[in-house]
Symmetry: C2
Subunit: 360 residues, 2 copies
């Protein structure tokens, strides 16, 4: 029994964790991109059920998900924490849904494709199409969007990344904490930590994720592990330093590359200027580099400061500075792009549904 949506009807979509920053962004982008859906439902915890969430110009009633109704969902976006994703995904899959997970729950699972459609979207065209797909960590996606065209042209031997990560990457409560710190400051008080263990306002601090015994935090580990999976290159040398800065939205990343084959900065700029989903921001000499404020609310990753790294052999070292909205391409948009590709490939699954489409 194939319970998936036949090709001649539109999917019934569920957004889980709909009241969070990524959940709301998912709802907004579904509307913006006019994703064809039979229904779009917003699910969140019992606490929020019965309220509504404003997104994409509409107010969405928030429902509590009941596992016995899982077969009423054809396409699920999980903007939930890892633990909840680990619970929800099997239940939804068993009921026939396609599941796109934005958490880290399945990113290391070799059975689950980890996808940035512009980079390894071919994984979504497999037959049968994957029913569970993981969307990468925001910092990984933003870095790889900028680096991928260079990798295709010249290969990557080593990549180091230093991040300048926005507060909203830690969720709505973190943003509210920043606002609270601002009010304290206006009242003449020193910024006190309001959400993280360190203050955000007028401070920067090492990413709040747990630090392992070697001294790396989880965000740094994710950048390495996820990049290697997405590039299907277990050996590429990758290391990062991940830092939160007092920006509200959009991460910035200083990226240093060691290339396999020589590529000049001019050639790199030429390549980066003509890639879908990417904007070479400071293409003209003397124009300014991209900044978080430029990327807020934008779909594209902005790349700039493309220059030779003269601390490496001629042509083999390159610096980039990438900025991207971590709620959009860094999370919700990437998940929806994954879904769009999955929906495209669903009719290919069976001769029947392909015929259905032809006969419409």
């Amino acid at each position: 029994m194939d319970r998936r949506t036949p090709a001649n009807s539109n999917p019934r979509i569920g957004v889980f964790g709909a009241t969070g920053l990524v959940g709301r962004e998912l709802l907004s982008i579904l509307i913006e991109r006019s994703v064809e859906a039979d229904t779009i439902r917003a699910f969140a915890s019992e606490r929020s059920a019965g309220t509504s969430v404003a997104a994409g110009g509409a107010h969405w009633p928030v429902e509590r998900f009941v596992a016995s109704e899982a077969d009423s969902i054809d396409l699920a976006f999980l903007a939930t924490g890892s633990e909840l994703s680990l619970e929800l995904a099997p239940c939804l899959l068993a009921a026939g849904a396609t599941v796109i997970d934005c958490s880290s729950a399945f990113r290391g699972d070799p059975e689950v494709p980890l996808v940035i459609p512009e980079i390894n979207g071919h994984l979504l065209a497999s037959d049968p199409a994957p029913r569970l797909v993981a969307s990468p960590n925001c910092s990984t996606t933003i870095a790889l969007m900028a680096v991928e065209p260079i990798r295709r042209a010249a290969g990557i031997r080593r990549m180091t990344v230093c991040t300048y990560q926005a507060v909203s990457g830690a969720g709505a409560a973190a943003l509210e904490g920043l606002d609270r710190e601002l009010r304290d400051h206006a009242d003449g008080e020193l910024p006190k930590p309001a959400h993280f263990s360190s203050p955000c306002l007028f401070n920067v601090f090492s990413h709040e994720s747990a630090v392992d015994e070697r001294g790396e935090n989880q965000e740094e580990l994710k950048i390495r592990a996820e990049s290697r999976r997405i590039w299907n290159d277990a050996d590429v040398a990758i290391a990062a330093t991940c830092v939160r800065v007092p920006t509200r939205r959009a991460h910035a990343e200083a990226i240093n590359l060691t290339l396999e084959r020589p590529l000049s900065a001019a050639e790199a700029r030429e390549i980066l200027a003509s890639v879908d989903g990417l904007v070479l921001f400071d293409r003209e000499p003397g124009t300014r580099a991209p900044e978080p404020r430029d990327a807020e609310g934008r779909d594209e990753v902005l790349v700039g400061r493309v220059r030779a790294d003269c601390s490496q052999p001629e042509g083999l070292g390159l610096w980039l500075f990438a900025v991207g909205d971590q709620l959009r391409k860094g999370a919700a948009l990437n998940a929806i792009q994954i879904a769009e590709r999955c929906l495209e490939s669903i009719p290919l699954l069976s001769v029947e549904s392909a015929r259905d489409r032809v006969h419409r």
Copy 2:
């Protein structure tokens, strides 16, 4: 004719650019450290002359410097812009003063030592003692304070630095601009650029210094050129990405090292824990990394996140995260430490003054 202060009297000190952030810090630190002086005078532009500047718990009358009175100064601290330093230094030197310049005017001059006393303070003990000494750029000093002990133990083949630089590094007007942006925000307006060409509040941007034809800004060039001079190593590979972040004071820097000889992270921590002027901040496992707020007003550079960089061959890659008050060790304190060493060495210049000191 030796017009320098004899060893048995205290120098007449002049602080130039006294109304600026570094100038005020110089006055404060002179008081804090009880630097013995016959007089300490505060000089600034004609605009400020006749006013007073508050620093170190005192109000200093601000004078306009008259070149014909240059011989009333034995020790001059120049916290002036490069152009003014280029004018003032020859005049003061000709009148017999020892000059410590905080600007970039003389940092590339092979005749002028560029000194971080903890690293190459031996240059100040030359005979005759140098009469003009340059103090390095703040980002250079903070990075090198953290890296020097590692360099001595294991050699540095390559260093890359990504900075998180405070607004006050660009002077008092920049800080006032940040406050203006805060007020705009409180009034419900979007942060507009108030001092730099980009807004500071909730934004990060590439360092505002001029960008050369290869795409490097002046701050990045300074880190390379000055580090090479201070280390007396014209070949060491160095590259940086310099970024302003909305912190008020104290720069942070993520530093990636390629070592000449293997050194474990544990060995590096051991070494860094026992260096004057440096604090290994997160010595105990699980404690947090240093942040700008920890370094504000402190003399020491704080170093943390010492960990192996696993993107490099075992033992040869190391990450550090350094934070330092760029107005203190990054500028004023370093200049005063230079002067303290110069003052020590003055009696060595002539047998007479050495005898004077012995007979006191």
